[in-house]
């Protein structure tokens, strides 16, 4: 709205300036025409009287007064125009300042809002990532614990089995060659006696 007012004011000032220029040109033409005309009749006499009254000095006086008045009006209008221009410039500056400030504020608000949105998105993303990492860590921890327990159990069983085998192997290697077969005969015969029936049955029914 203020822009339109400024345009109207500038248009009015321009119109006033053009009117003054037109008036000055018109007055110059009238003067030329008066000089060029010749007395012809009564009218010429009247014109001559008029010419006598409004002689050259008087016209020059009037011209000077008109010039002075015109200059005064021009000066006053120039002053008004200057005041209006200053006022308009001031208003324009104020308007521009206000608009720029408002625009900047809006842009800053939008920028701040964008930053806040991006920040919130980043925070949400980080929170989701942290949650996922915590969940993954928890699952991984459980898996590791299970694997450790299973590995522990396997190693324990292997240790037990191997330990028994190692002890057996050691005992066999340590005393196996030290026992004479003649000393073992009694135990061997006892074992054979215990399995005698099975041996007999297998021999009798064997192929």
């Amino acid at each position: 709205m203020t822009i339109w007012w400024l345009v109207v004011i500038l248009g009015a000032l321009g119109g006033v300036g053009i009117a003054f220029i037109w008036l000055a040109v018109r007055l110059g033409r009238v003067n030329n025409k008066a000089v060029s005309k010749q007395p012809d009749s009564i009218e010429d006499a009247a014109d001559e009287d008029v010419e006598h009254v409004f002689n050259k000095e008087f016209r020059e006086e009037l011209r000077n007064r008109g010039r002075l008045h015109f200059e005064k009006i021009i000066g006053e209008n120039a002053m008004f125009l200057q005041q209006d221009l200053r006022l308009t410039t001031s208003q324009l500056n104020e308007y521009m300042k206000t608009e720029i400030t408002r625009k900047l504020k809006e842009e800053f608000d939008k920028y701040e809002q964008s930053i806040m949105d991006a920040k919130q998105l980043a925070i949400d993303s980080i929170q989701k990532t942290n949650t996922a990492i915590d969940e993954e860590r928890r699952v991984l921890g459980q898996q590791v614990q299970q694997e450790i327990a299973a590995e522990k159990q396997v190693r324990l069983e292997r240790f037990e089995a191997n330990m028994a085998d190692i002890i057996n192997h050691y005992v066999l290697a340590a005393i196996g060659n030290q026992i004479d077969l003649n000393d073992q005969l009694e135990y061997i015969l006892a074992d054979l006696e215990a399995n005698k029936q099975a041996i007999i049955e297998d021999i009798q029914h064997g192929a």
């Binding site: 005393i175 074992d191 192929a207």
Partner: protein
């Protein structure tokens, strides 16, 4: 004569333990039979080399009260040995060391007394069994080794180890 000889067959001496011994006796008996046959066909004054019997053959003859100069006794013994070679039950026994002769005699005596009077034994070696023996018959295997005894008592050993570990 053959029927009387058949009544005199008592069995195998304990020194004859394996099918290899029986096969050796069969070959030896065939050699004796061949030598005696040649002796009967010899010309007067010709030099004849008398066959010598092994210790195993001596034991067989002594146990069964045979006289190999009689063809019937030789034939009877030959039939008996071939029957033993073909049909006698054979068991395989493994020890951690090569068994001495006296040990095998006692073992074979027990087997022939308790299991079968004609049973033969083949001997194998398994040094890792520690002590005892493994007996393999036609269809089964009996593990009387110290290793098997340890395996049977393995849970006891583990429980002892665990109790010791817990006490420590």
């Amino acid at each position: 004569m053959a029927r009387e000889a058949a009544k005199r067959i008592q069995g195998l001496p304990v020194l004859v333990t394996s099918p290899l011994d029986v096969a050796r006796l069969v070959r030896e008996l065939e050699a004796i039979d061949e030598a005696l046959l040649q002796l009967g066909l010899r010309q007067p004054g010709a030099e004849v080399k008398m066959p010598k019997t092994s210790r195993l053959m001596d034991q067989v003859i002594l146990l069964n009260e045979l006289n190999l100069l009689y063809p019937e006794d030789r034939l009877l013994l030959q039939q008996f040995l071939r029957a033993v070679k073909e049909r006698a039950p054979v068991v395989h026994m493994s020890f951690n060391a090569d068994p001495p002769v006296a040990f095998m005699e006692k073992l074979v005596a027990w087997l022939r007394r308790e299991i079968n009077p004609l049973v033969l034994v083949t001997v194998g070696l398994q040094p890792n069994m520690g002590a005892g023996c493994m007996l393999r018959t036609t269809n089964r295997q009996f593990d009387f080794s110290l290793r098997q005894t340890f395996l049977k008592n393995r849970e006891l050993l583990i429980s002892k180890l665990m109790s010791e570990e817990q006490a420590a």
